[in-house]
């Protein structure tokens, strides 16, 4: 089989829609196009039936029941709805929220907005392996804490947080626990009861479903209340008005079903490919550093710094491979990745990081091609790197007085 270029290794950003998912969706664009809120005819009934079946299927993947699933447009909306919804509804109970510095912007920026409205937010640091320490959560909890929001797995480095332990501590103090589970769901086992989660954000397009559909799990026993952000027809039991995206929901449900049935096999296959990539790179290229815990990591994630080679230049060199970088040059802000900085990764190393994301359709041939390409391009770029030249001649780069920039 010949290799098809470009190669996709950015599965954290999004995933292709599985053919089986697309097949399940198509009838809901065609003959079953009805509005799930139409109660008076067969078109509506058929749409509603698909939506309710979808709820059960998505719930099953996380150990929940269908009535606890609220459909949204995606995880950004789910994060906003969970955090703002709890903050507003329970404002008489307290005004303190706990989260971590490595969370997704959808969580961090939502918290920042709440700070402007008078809420107090604690942004917990992470350990050098990129994980939130449960004891740090325990110490931060106060009588005023109404919500703790911690992600299941990190989008940049793939590290997995000990959410079960954190959830138990949060529950013991009577606060609500929200988990942004976008990156972990469908890749590692997750259960809303084991993790003591009250709210969980999900997104279909990170698990081989379509874009534009997500969900928020909202616990019913004991009942968790949220103030809606979008007012209107009172859909989703008043928590999220708006006509439902029926084909999206059907696709999300099919994607969830496939993950539930195939996760165990798929994870071990993807992990083997990830390890092949990691070992191949480490064997061929000196001076590389893995960012974040290798042990507590999603199977398809590899975030690696190639010392003395700037990340964006590296991505240009890997033009036939879709990856991403923590380098400043990939962002408008010119600041290197806040996640890597939170781990204590030096700025100069953060600039050299590349994130590889492997998934369902990654092949061994692709991995081998990428290893060869990375090895040759790192060599080329190091040959033109003044830092590599200095380091090779024994100069300690820290001994040089660098200019301000």
């Amino acid at each position: 089989m010949t290799l098809k270029l470009p190669i996709y290794m950015d599965y954290h950003a999004t995933t292709p829609v599985d053919e089986r998912v697309l097949d399940a969706m198509l009838p809901y664009f065609r003959e079953n196009f009805g509005n799930a809120a139409s109660r008076s005819h067969a078109f509506g009934w058929s749409a509603e039936e698909a939506v309710e079946k979808g709820r059960e299927e998505v719930a099953k993947l996380i150990g929940a029941v269908g009535k606890e699933i609220v459909w949204t447009s995606g995880a950004t909306e789910s994060d906003n709805l969970a955090i703002k919804g709890i903050a507003e509804f329970y404002k008489d109970r307290g005004n303190h929220i706990i989260t971590a510095v490595t969370e997704h912007k959808a969580v961090l920026d939502t918290c920042k907005r709440l700070e402007k409205q008078g809420y107090a937010v604690t942004y917990l640091p992470v350990d050098s392996d990129g994980r939130v320490n449960p004891q740090a959560v325990a110490k931060a909890l106060t009588d005023k804490t109404i919500l703790v929001s911690i992600m299941l797995a990190n989008n940049e480095i793939g590290t997995i947080n000990p959410v079960d332990e954190i959830g138990a501590l949060v529950k013991a103090r009577g606060a609500f626990f929200h988990i942004d589970a976008v990156q972990g769901i469908g890749k590692i086992p997750f259960d809303v009861n084991q993790s003591h989660a009250d709210l969980v954000s999900l997104s279909a397009h990170k698990m081989y479903g379509p874009k534009g559909i997500g969900a928020l799990y909202v616990r019913r026993k004991p009942r968790v209340r949220i103030t809606p952000m979008i007012d209107g027809g009172g859909h989703e039991r008043g928590m999220r008005s708006g006509t439902l995206n029926v084909p999206g929901i059907v696709g999300f449900a099919k994607a969830a079903e496939l993950c539930r049935l195939e996760m165990a096999d798929e994870s071990s296959r993807v992990l083997a490919l990830r390890e092949r990539l990691r070992k191949g790179i480490e064997a061929r290229i000196p001076n590389t550093v893995i960012n974040g815990s290798l042990e507590h990591r999603l199977p398809g994630s590899l975030n690696i710094s190639f010392a003395f080679v700037e990340g964006e230049a590296m991505m240009m060199a890997l033009k036939d491979v879709a990856v991403s970088s923590g380098s400043a040059c990939t962002s408008a802000s010119l600041e290197p990745s806040y996640v890597l900085r939170a781990l204590g990764v030096a700025e100069e190393m953060a600039h050299t990081s590349i994130r590889f994301g492997l998934g369902r359709f990654t092949t061994e041939a692709e991995v081998d091609y990428v290893i060869d390409l990375v090895a040759s391009k790192v060599k080329k770029l190091r040959d033109m790197s003044p830092l590599w030249e200095l380091a090779q001649s024994g100069v300690d780069l820290k001994s040089i007085q660098w200019g301000a920039h």
Binding site: S327, P336, H351, S385, P386, L387, W388, W402
Partner: protein
């Protein structure tokens, strides 16, 4: 980031990558930028007796535009007199490579590198003059 074809050309076929011996009296060396900022350029010039830049070399740690800016800078200053090279402006580099606003600092760094290499060369020359006049006296 969508780059111009000229940036891509310089990035893929960089001109004048390499090093000159910084110990030579007719070689000027500059090392500008900082690893923590994601850009470091080393630019060197070799100046002939007539004040013309005979050779220029660079090595750059940085993004595609940083590499292209330094590659273009070495290409331009080869054959210029030192005084002509002093007047190369970062805006000319921005224009030639169609750099987007967020990448203008790469061109600034390249201008700094040219000026730094010339300053280093001139310092060496003054030093030699002093030595010569001391020897004469």
């Amino acid at each position: 980031m969508a780059y111009s074809n000229k940036v891509i050309d310089h990035y893929e076929n960089p001109r004048n990558v390499g090093s000159l011996d910084p110990g030579e009296p007719d070689v000027g060396t500059a090392l500008v930028g900082a690893p923590a900022c994601g850009d470091v350029m080393k630019l060197q010039i070799k100046v002939g007796k007539n004040g013309v830049i005979e050779d220029a070399k660079f090595k750059t740690f940085g993004c595609g535009s940083a590499i292209a800016s330094s590659s273009l800078a070495t290409e331009w200053i080869k054959g210029m007199t030192v005084d002509q090279a002093m007047s190369v402006k970062n805006t000319q580099i921005v224009e030639e490579l169609s750099l987007p606003p967020v990448k203008i600092h790469c061109s600034v760094l390249a201008e700094d590198a040219i000026k730094g290499a010339i300053a280093d060369y001139r310092k060496k020359q003054e030093h030699r003059q002093e030595e010569r006049s001391e020897n004469a006296a």
